[in-house]
């Protein structure tokens, strides 16, 4: 139940953040259908997930299966591997985007993307060194 509770809290936070993004975007009255689409997609996914978690929490058999799956070592190994690969892909895409944005003279957006990429790399390094010390 502990794992499920954590997942529910995370899902609620994501849902609230995406609803806030959706509302702010609507209030600003600018044409940004991509942001609206993104926010609504995340909201819908979060609600579907919450419904799924609720169903699991009400069924002891499903809950046991779910908790086993969450702690299962092969599942964790696969998650770690996919996370590492996703991180690499994101960084490559961000650097590609920065390059294209500079070519298109979109310097402000390029700076924002650079900051995001820099923060990601910094976070990676801090977590890496912390884990090296821990283990």
């Amino acid at each position: 139940m502990k794992i499920l509770k954590k997942k529910i809290i995370l899902c609620v936070i994501i849902a609230l953040a995406s609803i806030a993004l959706f509302v702010i975007n609507m209030l600003q009255n600018v044409d940004s259908s991509t942001t609206t689409g993104f926010a609504s997609a995340i909201t819908v996914i979060s609600i579907v997930k919450l419904r799924q978690f609720y169903r699991i929490s009400k069924n002891p058999q499903l809950l046991k299966k779910y908790e086993i799956m969450q702690k299962e070592e092969r599942f964790l190994t696969i998650s770690e591997k996919s996370g590492r690969f996703a991180f690499l892909v994101t960084i490559v895409v961000e650097f590609g985007a920065i390059f294209v944005l500079i070519l298109l003279s979109q310097n402000k957006i390029a700076t924002i993307v650079s900051l995001i990429a820099g923060t990601q790399i910094l976070a990676y390094l801090i977590i890496y060194y912390y884990l090296c010390k821990k283990y």
Binding site: I68, M69, E72, E73, R74
Partner: protein, 65 residues
């Protein structure tokens, strides 16, 4: 690394689902272990050895490539 998991499981006449439930892993993990696609952690290897009542090295055979 090779293993005799499938052989031992079949010897005992148990299904992958039953073994998975006893070891608290998914059926897919048992399948991956049997096919040699996935190597278990030392904890899972001990759990498997205890379940079958055999030493680890009799179930998992390490071969240098």
């Amino acid at each position: 690394m090779r293993n005799k998991l499938e052989e031992l499981r079949k010897e005992r006449g148990i299904r992958q689902e039953e073994l998975a439930e006893a070891l608290e892993v998914s059926r897919q993990t048992i399948g991956s272990l049997e096919n040699g696609r996935y190597n278990p952690s030392i904890i899972l290897a001990f759990k498997i050895a205890r379940y079958f009542g055999r030493p680890i090295e009799k179930i998992f055979i390490y071969e240098e490539e």
